[in-house]
């Protein structure tokens, strides 16, 4: 197995570049592609994540079968150790490639809070089990995809659009001969189809940036100290067969220690499989060629986790206790009426347990209607998706969000099911609605209502307009049983500001307590 390191390191870099490009490709392809079915498994990054799989499974007390690919990576880690962190992880690749650009305080090899990630992992898994889902706030892929989808990608489009609008409006024709085709090319390839707008764009960006800012303290600070996926892999890697063997009778150069991005090599030059991500730098840097990676020798001890029992137990206790505070809040009694979940969403508590806040559904939503929730679903609901109809509606013939959800928090609906899945109900505000309030004809809502038998109908009525004339106008009203809550009426209402028709979660199928009043009781 001993090989000259240059080649190995090169392979590792190649793998990182390849995986990162694949990641970006899948990210861009998380979009409508000319057919309702997505041709690629765009959510694969989340489905190979064993931490999220464990968290979602514990939270729902069932095996989340969608996430079976994570077993492959657990198995591979038994052989290879934390190779994922060094060779595959797109976040790791980003950190490695930007490391040189971020000024760091010192290049120490010691990891400051290496135990923190285990406490965090313990806390998150226990909390998930007892009903407080918080995995998505620490999972590196959730942070990465969310940051990209909600902040960076839309910002990139703003940048491109403003630049090419400037050239289009201000520059002479010969420059436009170059810039316009370039803009067209970018639009056809990497730019999003349209400018999306998101809530919490800045928070998502800052969360992502924080991981890069932490690089100042230590190389791969997040991976060494915080990353719960890394912690999960570390636990598996403790038993891994592939081990790095450091020099025992070498000099005092300590090259390997200072070059190790994970702080995995100690004073005795033993390489801890808990931290080593097999980047192969040490193999390459060792002047005496004394470091090698090979299948486990008999005398290699399994390293200890060096956890404080007290802290570990405390974090588990906190994880077990905190969930019981969730039901003390008013929202446990009466949820926010404007919190409308995407079609196919499971009942709220199960939905939140499964949802890993990855942002895939918001990225793929072609109406730009799915927005990250801020506080209306509680602290633990931040970044979970909601349909905010004024920013965009749910397209009648589209089922993309259910297709990209990696955990099944949104069940994948067939088009037929989607057409009858009621996610909410709209209500007219007659004080604002023009035909009611001003005697002005409108009914744009009725025009756009997509159900074949329209849920929004109108009656002709004689009203006084603001001039005091009696006019005949068409006034819209709703047939609750037909409305599926897509919110196109709210999105298209031509009033400035607040719409005169508002989508609420009333009547949503997944929550019987939200049933609408009827004259005949169904159950």
């Amino acid at each position: 197995m001993k090989k000259k390191g240059v080649a190995l390191r090169l392979w590792r870099r190649l793998s990182q570049v390849f995986c990162f490009i694949l990641f970006l490709f899948l990210f861009i392809k998380t979009d409508y592609s000319g057919a309702n079915d997505l041709p690629y498994a765009v959510n694969i990054l989340f489905r190979i994540d064993p931490f999220l799989a464990a968290s979602a499974s514990l939270a729902t007390k069932t095996l989340v079968t969608l996430m079976w690919p994570s077993l492959i990576f657990i198995g591979l880690t038994f052989f290879l150790g934390r190779f994922f962190c060094g060779w595959i992880c797109p976040m790791g690749a980003l950190l490695d490639s930007t490391h040189g650009l971020i000024p760091h305080v010192h290049e120490g090899y010691k990891t400051r809070h290496e135990s923190l990630k285990y406490y965090l992992l313990g806390f998150l898994l226990i909390a998930a089990f007892f009903g407080l889902p918080a995995a998505g706030y620490f999972d590196p892929f959730s942070i990465l995809v969310r940051g990209l989808a909600i902040a960076i990608y839309p910002a990139l489009n703003v940048l491109a659009t403003s630049f090419f609008t400037f050239t289009y409006q201000q520059m002479p024709a010969w420059i436009n001969m170059v810039t316009e085709p370039l803009y067209g090319f970018l639009k056809a390839t990497i730019l999003p189809f349209r400018q999306n707008h998101y809530e919490l764009a800045f928070i998502s960006l800052f969360l992502l940036l924080t991981i890069f800012i932490l690089e100042r303290l230590e190389r791969r600070f997040f991976c060494r100290n915080i990353c719960p996926v890394g912690a999960f892999y570390a636990i598996v890697a403790r038993f891994s067969l592939m081990r790095g063997k450091g020099g025992t009778k070498c000099g005092k150069c300590r090259n390997c220690m200072s070059v190790c991005r994970m702080g995995a090599i100690d004073e005795e030059r033993t390489i801890s499989p808990l931290d080593c991500n097999l980047c192969m730098d040490c193999v390459d840097m060792c002047p005496g060629n004394k470091i090698s990676f090979s299948l486990q020798q008999k005398d290699v001890a399994r390293p200890a986790f060096r956890l404080s029992r007290r802290t570990f137990v405390s974090s588990l206790a906190a994880g077990a206790a905190l969930p019981f505070f969730l039901d003390t809040r008013t929202m446990a009694k009466r949820p926010d009426p404007f919190l409308v979940r995407p079609p196919g969403a499971l009942p709220e508590s199960e939905f939140l347990s499964r949802c890993v806040r990855c942002g895939e559904c918001m990225k793929v939503c072609i109406g730009n209607g799915l927005q990250p929730t801020f506080l209306s679903a509680g602290l633990e609901g931040i970044f979970s998706p909601r349909l905010q109809a004024r920013s965009g509606y749910c397209e009648f013939n589209c089922t993309l969000c259910g297709q990209v959800c990696p955990t099944g928090a949104l069940t994948e609906l067939t088009l037929k099911q989607k057409h009858i899945t009621k996610i909410g109900n709209v209500f007219f505000d007659k004080n604002r609605c023009l035909p009611y309030a001003k005697g002005i004809p409108c009914i744009v809502c009725e025009e756009h209502c997509p159900t074949p038998d329209k849920a929004i109908l109108f009656r002709e009525a004689q009203v006084l307009n603001s001039k005091g004339d009696t006019v005949l106008v068409k006034q819209p009203y709703l047939i609750d049983e037909r409305c599926i809550g897509c919110g196109i009426c709210e999105a298209k209402c031509p009033l400035p500001g607040k719409s005169a028709v508002r989508l609420t979660s009333g009547g949503e199928k997944r929550n019987p307590q939200n049933a609408l009043p009827t004259q005949t009781l169904l159950y």
Binding site: Y32, G34, A35, F164, T165, Y168, Q169, F193, R194, I366, G367, E395, F396, N397, C398, L434, I440, P441, C442, I443, V444, E446, E447, H448, P450, T451, P452, D453, K454, F458, K474, K492, C493, P494
Partner: protein
């Protein structure tokens, strides 16, 4: 304005009593009306072949498209519905017009619509994008409107709107061909040619709905198709303008065409057993002198 008004004004002017010069801004239309508007309709199962047939009595496509022209062909593909649901122009009708225009020597043909549902879904589901893909010609461009290219236009003759944002390509084209689908619309009763022009508008189009008929007529003073081809191969009778239920669709196998946008709408109205006077936009456009609405004063030809 009708002939009587026209003659009266001419007489008054020639008598030197009035210097109402503004009235003369619409003289060209009035003069055009001297010759009765021709509306052609035809029936058949082969929608592609129908287009050439309906244009024959109007002088074929070469009357409208000259060699080297920049042509805009504006179908209605506003909704995420398939051809059978009759919410969008039939793809074969659009394709036929495109190929006829290509044969007539058009330099560039642009096909687009500002959709109501998601743009890409509408282009795909309407079947128009795929139908035009089979026309392998570089002079044909089907594209999504670019938000930078809506230009504010003063509507000088407008009674209900003063200014609208209109797509640049529609304004600059040598030939603008309007290819609406005839269907039910709850507010305007029907959507025909004049309503289809809303697809070149930018901004908040919902505001057009407040006094829709007059605003559409105002729009028609600046967006002026040389040719209107109304697709009534299948018409949506209820739940328009987007439908969704094929039970609401009636197959008529008919296409109507005219160089007069108002006359074309007026005739197509009768296919729904309605009268032109019942459609506000037709009446308003007629009053602005944009075309004929009186069926009795049109030359209505049934093409072979």
């Amino acid at each position: 304005m009708d002939r009587r008004d026209f003659l009266k004004q001419v007489m008054l002017w020639s008598a030197g009593i009035t210097t109402a010069i503004p009235s003369f801004q619409i003289v060209p239309e009035l003069l055009a009306m001297e010759k009765p508007s021709t509306v052609v309709h035809t029936k058949g199962k082969d929608y592609y072949a129908l287009v050439a047939r309906v244009l024959e009595p109007l002088g074929t496509i070469s009357k409208f498209v000259k060699t080297g022209d920049q042509v805009v062909i504006k179908p209605n593909m506003a909704w995420d519905r398939n051809p059978a649901q009759a919410a969008n122009t039939h793809p074969q009708v659009v394709k036929a017009l495109v190929e006829l225009s290509l044969d007539a020597g058009a330099n560039k043909i642009m096909v687009f619509d500002r959709t109501c549902n998601e743009e890409r879904r509408c282009y795909v589901n309407s079947g128009i994008q795929d139908a035009l893909k089979t026309v392998k010609n570089k002079r044909l461009k089907i594209y999504h409107p670019d938000t930078r290219k809506f230009v504010p236009v003063d509507i000088k003759q407008g009674k209900a709107v003063r200014r609208l944002e209109i797509y640049k390509d529609a304004l600059e084209a040598d030939t603008y061909i309007n290819v609406p689908v005839a269907k039910h619309h709850s507010l305007s009763r029907l959507t025909l040619g004049l309503k289809n022009s809303m697809g070149v508008l930018g901004g908040n189009r919902g505001q057009m709905h407040h006094n829709l008929g007059q605003k559409l007529a105002d729009l028609a003073t600046v967006v002026r198709p040389k040719l209107t081809v109304i697709d009534a191969t299948r018409i949506l009778l209820r739940n328009g303008p987007q439908g969704g239920d094929t039970d609401d669709v009636k197959v008529l196998d008919t296409i109507v065409a005219s160089a007069d946008p108002v006359a074309c709408d007026a005739y197509a109205t009768t296919l729904f057993d309605l009268q032109p006077e019942e459609i506000d936009s037709t009446v308003a456009a007629y009053k602005l002198g944009l075309g004929e609405m009186d069926l009795a004063r049109m030359q209505i030809i049934q093409a072979a």
